[in-house]
């Protein structure tokens, strides 16, 4: 492993630590943002996501205009397809049932949440399940590809990205300004060490840009969950794992800006470019959240949790993994990386998230309110 790989992995680990720390302090829950829109008609968590996406869009565009951005649009984004919308719906359903998205479960797990660990195991199981249906899903997904070679909306309409990105960012910025004027950015949370959501949104936007500058691709984690599932299968059922196309192919290619070397990667249990750019983020987020919880004396594992919640979050993890593989891509990949560039895959994915989150909220409400809570009555 060369020096450049070490530098990239160290830098990404540090980025992950800061991201995990911030997300724990603010309880920056992306699943909650979409869930609460429908469950409580609350915009509390959606506002910082709008800020994050708009700021990222401006920063990415500035980097592109100044030539700092290594590749535009980012690698691993493709022309849109109907499966992006369907995958977003499945993903939205899963993330609400799991109680967190693909990075939400990481920062919650780092803070000691047993249910987040169960959701994480569900993500591994769902990734393994997808590997079984991959050969059937790929030809089906090709039927839904839109008749265009354009990846981003500006490419599709044939204009410069600058105008469209700045217009979208200005509209989002106007709403952010109105929310500030109306006092929605004020920190009213009495939790110890709470960091305002707007601060974390800005921090995550900067970390997202740093990630692209360092490794050439935006933040993403789910292909490495598939790698984890493949690794487990290679230990438990190696003959079967070797027969699965999804766990043996290396379709993803990327160049690290530091050394300019083109590397390949995939979902197999190997050390490749996917492992270089994703695994350090996963470990960093868990460590950052753990550090934050330890400093606040809030790291504590509660072992006694309702069984119906265990079953629901595991199922949610499986569904979320299926959604991320079918789409392909997770909410972080599309919201923090693709949407700021107005990639059409990401636009479809985010539209799909909405009905999925609505349905997930209905199921969640039924499961949580059907069981009696632990209650003690004193007179």
């Amino acid at each position: 492993m060369g020096l450049s790989v070490w530098v990239v992995m160290s830098g990404l680990t540090l980025i992950g630590v800061v991201a995990g720390f911030l997300m724990h302090r603010s309880d920056f829950c992306m699943a909650g943002a979409f869930r609460d829109l429908f469950l409580f008609r609350s915009y509390r968590l959606i506002r910082p996501i709008v800020l994050l996406v708009c700021l990222s869009a401006l920063l990415f565009e500035l980097c592109r205009l100044t030539g700092i951005l290594p590749i535009y649009p980012f690698p691993w984004f493709n022309p849109p397809a109907g499966i992006n919308l369907f995958g977003g719906m499945v993903f939205g359903l899963g993330m609400v049932m799991a109680g967190g998205c693909v990075v939400g479960v990481l920062y919650k797990m780092g803070a000691g949440s047993l249910l987040a660990l169960v959701a994480f195991l569900g993500l591994l199981a769902g990734s393994a399940l997808y590997a079984e249906i991959h050969n059937w899903w790929v030809p089906l997904s090709r039927l839904t590809v839109f008749p265009t070679r354009a990846v981003t909306l500006p490419q599709w309409i044939g204009g410069s990205p600058t105008v469209l990105v700045f217009v979208c960012a200005a509209i989002g910025g106007f709403f952010c300004w109105r929310w500030k004027r109306d006092g929605h950015w004020t920190n009213r949370n009495p939790a110890e060490g709470f960091i305002p959501l707007w601060f974390t949104a800005i921090g995550l936007a900067l970390l997202s840009v740093l990630t692209v500058l360092l490794c050439g691709v935006p933040m993403g984690v789910t292909t490495s969950y598939a790698k984890g599932a493949a690794l487990l299968e290679s230990w438990l059922v190696p003959e079967h794992q070797a027969t699965l196309t999804y766990f043996t192919a290396t379709p993803l290619q990327s160049v690290l800006p530091l050394d300019g070397i083109l590397r390949s990667g995939g979902s197999g249990p190997h050390f490749d470019v996917v492992a270089i750019v994703q695994v350090p983020l996963i470990l960093g987020i868990i460590c950052g959240s753990w550090l934050s919880a330890q400093l606040l004396n809030e790291f504590k594992i509660v072992w006694k949790v309702p069984f119906n919640q265990v079953a629901m979050v595991f199922t949610g993890g499986v569904i979320m993994a299926l959604g991320s593989r079918m789409s392909p891509g997770c909410n972080i990949w599309h919201l923090w990386g693709g949407l700021p560039l107005l990639t059409m895959q990401s636009l479809l994915f985010v539209i799909g998230l909405l009905p999925g989150a609505w349905l997930g909220g209905k199921i969640l409400q039924h499961v949580l309110l059907s069981a009696a809570p632990l209650k003690r009555l004193n007179s």
Binding site: N189, A191, K300, K304, L369
Partner: protein, 80 residues
Amino acid sequence: MKTIEIDIRGQICPSCLLLVLREVNQRHRELMDGNLCLVILTDNRAATGTIPDAVNNMGIAAAVEKLAGYYRIIIQGQHD
């Protein structure tokens, strides 16, 4: 005065807010009259902000205090 304690530590988000809203809706009069105190134990950091906001909007007061690694939210009486 009656006290009902609900322990939601370790549970999935948003158990805390959903269960509290159900209890507050069912026992709104008792809480407003000061005949009932709801005590919520939670390790959900967001709940320390969302629960007081929600019950304040329903006219009921709420106070938050940190204990050993978790939070106690006390809901009783009228909100000023």
